[in-house]
Symmetry: C2
Subunit: 544 residues, 2 copies
């Protein structure tokens, strides 16, 4: 079974171009033409056409960067293979108007020669073509021909910005060369890449890689993201500070080489910004811009910051693959306003209600083991303990005279707070929803039954617990129906409802929905049982 979402490896470049052609304002080279290329749909011949390209496998570079404010066209070779001279030349012919064309080329021999010869031939055809080579890699300090890496897209952005602004070819080329001479990039991977159609082992962590899956400068064993960032920054800053002076303000580009999750990119961003402090005046990304197929790694590109470069890098562009940029700032926070405690016991007292509550909590504490046992047959066996937690909290508050037993709305708010905090699990939240909504209804003048009904409705809405679901609702719902006839009647209805849950063997919500019929049969739902116990105890104690 394939380990990636590819079809035929040979078709991958054509499929990628088709995706662009169907979703973006571009034209692609006709099938069977022997050329793979993407050209922006609306080109102004009075604007310099910025063209890039090279082997495929680095998407969105370069095909995904074709569009207003970035590239006029991209010439795409096969994976990791330079496009032919004829392919480059045909694209130059397609996009070059009176203003001329700038070819932005990554520093690989094949790309340099093929784009170079295409430029020479285009010139003999009367086209005005300049070539800028990007060689931003700093992984191999003794190599006089550094590789072109993610810094290339910053050259695209600056050149594309100036071209759109109407700058002439000499100006665009000069600015592109200036950026190309300023960018420095260092990359790190946890695994090497696999091309479409390839399968097999990947190399482990390396520092200083190119974009064609060649081995990195050295193997590493970073302990985590922070150390990975430090490993990249040490040689990178040595070069950047050596060239431009320590403390030079910087533009940073954090590039995903293909395999990073969004979560990892966020962690890397934090680590980069912590490490560089306020030297980073502009951050491009994090984003996948110059990938090496699915290499699980990142590269960091640094460029001295100045206002002209910043203006060019921050102007909006049409291609959605351009991730935009941000000006890193200090963290702005807010202090969450936590809930105030209820005004414990601020309302009236009612001895009957207090007696009912006392009896109910007592009954629940007495039934703890039995409820746990019931739960053990259909769940995780802690229902009695959970309920006892809430009952204990209520009993303690009652003894401490902290409950407004004579003021239903206040009492419900007090009880809601207790069960939410002390009962635990979802039952506490469900009961708190019921009590909170009832308190709201009572505050607005509803009678006892209507308030509880409002609460039960909210439980249905938020918890989706409905009658017949083997939950406390199976006792509460009939009890409320009978409550106008007194607590004794409600208790009776609750008891019948609770007992009936033993016959409910197919449920659609809650954990019981995962259980087999023969497991459920004959087992009363512990939540419904608890409701019946509460009402029975209340009725007995208050002669309700």
């Amino acid at each position: 079974m394939p380990t990636r979402f590819f079809d035929s490896a040979e078709q991958t470049v054509a499929q990628m171009l088709e995706a662009l052609a169907r979703t973006r304002p571009v034209r692609v080279s006709a099938e069977g033409s022997g050329v793979h290329a993407v050209v922006a749909r609306d080109l102004d011949p009075a604007r310099v056409a910025v063209v890039s390209g090279g082997g495929s496998g680095h998407e969105p570079a370069h095909a995904g960067l074709v569009g207003d404010g970035l590239l006029a066209a991209a010439v795409c070779g096969e994976f990791f293979a330079s496009p032919s001279v004829e392919a480059v030349l045909s694209v130059v012919r397609e996009v070059t108007g009176a203003a001329g064309c700038l070819l932005v080329v990554k520093n690989y021999t094949g790309d340099r020669l093929n784009f170079g010869l295409a430029a020479e031939r285009a010139r003999t055809e009367g086209l005005d073509v300049e070539v800028v080579v990007v060689a931003d890699d700093v992984a191999l300090p003794d190599n006089p021909q550094p590789r072109g890496l993610a810094g290339t897209v910053l050259v695209h952005k600056v050149a594309g910005h100036l071209a759109r602004d109407g700058a002439d070819l000499a100006t665009v080329a000069a600015a592109a060369r200036e950026v190309a001479s300023g960018v420095a990039t260092m990359s790190l991977s946890l695994t090497s890449a696999l091309l479409p159609g390839q399968d097999g082992d990947r190399r482990t962590a390396e520092l200083g890689l190119g974009i064609h899956n060649e081995p990195g400068a050295r193997e590493i064993e970073p302990s985590g993201a922070e150390e990975a960032v430090a490993l990249v920054l040490e040689p990178l800053l040595a070069v950047v500070d050596g060239r431009h002076g320590a403390g030079t303000p910087l533009v940073a580009l954090l590039n995903d080489t293909g395999g990073c999750s969004t979560q990892e990119l966020a962690v890397l961003t934090t680590d980069v910004l912590r490490a560089l402090g306020d030297r980073v005046r502009l951050l491009v990304g994090p984003a996948a811009l110059m990938t090496s197929v699915d290499m699980h790694g990142f590269s960091l590109t640094l460029l001295p910051h100045d206002d002209v470069v910043a203006a060019a890098l921050t102007s909006p562009v049409e291609p959605p693959a351009w991730p935009g940029s941000s000006v890193p700032a200090s963290v702005s926070t807010f202090d969450p306003r936590h809930s105030a405690e209820p005004d414990w016991g601020a309302g009236a007292r009612d001895e009957t209600v207090a007696a009912g509550l006392r009896a109910a909590t007592g009954a629940l504490l007495d039934a703890r083991t039995r409820l746990d046992d019931l739960d053990a047959r259909v769940g995780d066996g802690d229902a009695g303990t959970t309920i006892a937690g809430g009952a204990t909290a209520v009993a303690e508050a009652l003894e401490a005279d902290r409950l407004s037993t004579g003021d239903p709305a206040r009492l419900a708010t007090e009880l809601a707070s207790l069960v939410e905090q002390r009962m635990g699990g979802s039952s506490g939240v469900v009961l708190s929803i019921l009590l909170t909504a009832a308190a709201g209804a009572w505050t607005e003048g509803a009678d006892v039954t209507a308030g509880l009904r409002a609460g039960l409705d909210r439980v249905g809405e938020h918890g989706d617990a409905r009658a017949g679901g083997r939950t406390m609702v199976d006792a509460l719902d009939p009890a409320l129906g009978a409550l106008t006839d007194g607590v004794r009647a409600a208790a009776g209805a609750a008891r019948r409802g609770a007992d009936g849950t033993a016959e409910v063997t197919t449920t659609v919500v809650g954990r019981s929905s995962y259980l087999r019929e023969d497991v459920l049969r004959g087992v009363v739902d512990p939540g419904a049982e608890a409701v019946a116990l509460v009402l029975e105890a209340w009725a007995t104690a208050t002669d309700g």
Copy 2:
């Protein structure tokens, strides 16, 4: 060694929030507050605040979607764990003004209860709060509580759009419910996810997954991207067509669940658009929007298309994580204009030049084995064969009287075409660059030497071959210096230059740069040797 770019697993949520806080116009909950949340910096109390959240691990959902036109705030639990009622409530307090607040909740019990209770409590505090639950999963058709998946972000977008436009809470909530009831999502993965701090094996391909790494509805073995798309579309379209009718125009969201490369996403896009034809009237993504950390998979969300939804989904928003959308169109192509053949032999003839060329090509063909042998000692042993390919082509053209021997510019263009097409490798391109540039210079009136010098300069520029590099330049450069004294003098200079390459043991470009000194010593560079042979033969044949 860790296999991902994380630091402490426990710190990951805080680090992700720090990244947002430093790079985006948001405020985050103060450290140590017990709450993880992101709030947009500039909130208008006269606008409905659209709030979402849930467990972390789905970034950019939801924290990365906070900003103008999308979410007013996101409440973030730990990885895959619902935020507390207090956390949700504190955020609702922070962002809810006179216009109220809409909570968009994915359909998981914990989220529903905690957001639900927070809503109830917020209401008792006088805040106007509505809750919309999204349950777009269609993987488990018998489940009455479908999971909330990537369709949630479409609800965000529509609600955020209307809220920004000033719609009241009832209108925003109704529109959000309408979208929530219309979205249907199906997902497929090649591997399951690993949370930060986890390591170990991943499950293999599954269809119908949620976003919390629970096993999918069934294991699958797709043969590639196209079949993966078909596996997702079959049950998804059954639901969508069943609900809305076959052929209903659709909005599609192609979501990366975390581990797809840009290349795979492009292939999947093509396969989805091919499979759905012109039913897709609007495509959101492809992009990572609702991830399951690094799950290597994708989900496809479909929603009936109408103009109101389309307007809401296409309006620009501030958060860069929103990928924008496109209206899929048929493929627009261009026909690459290939180069015309040179006008073979259209120029004058010169018997001396013809004699020189004939002798030179003969000498190169005679030297084929010797040049291959030289190359075998320092390279891959095919230099003589490569050069012979070019020489044969030139000799054949000469015999067929297709060369303008009496017109230097035309001749150079003809030879450039021959060597580019028939010589192969980078040598053919290098020689073609030289000849093309020389032709250009000659067309503009340069003398023979100046034209060749211009060509050599271009070789230096595009190929970075300079004197001392063990290349043909080591013979060409001195030869050009002597050419004003005749071909014989140039041949002598070329011979000395070629012989001198045997002493060059440190080079910085070309393949020789990878070789050890003791390997290079005493071996003449075959390219330089070929130049000397050409000039010696030419001089002898023409008595130059």
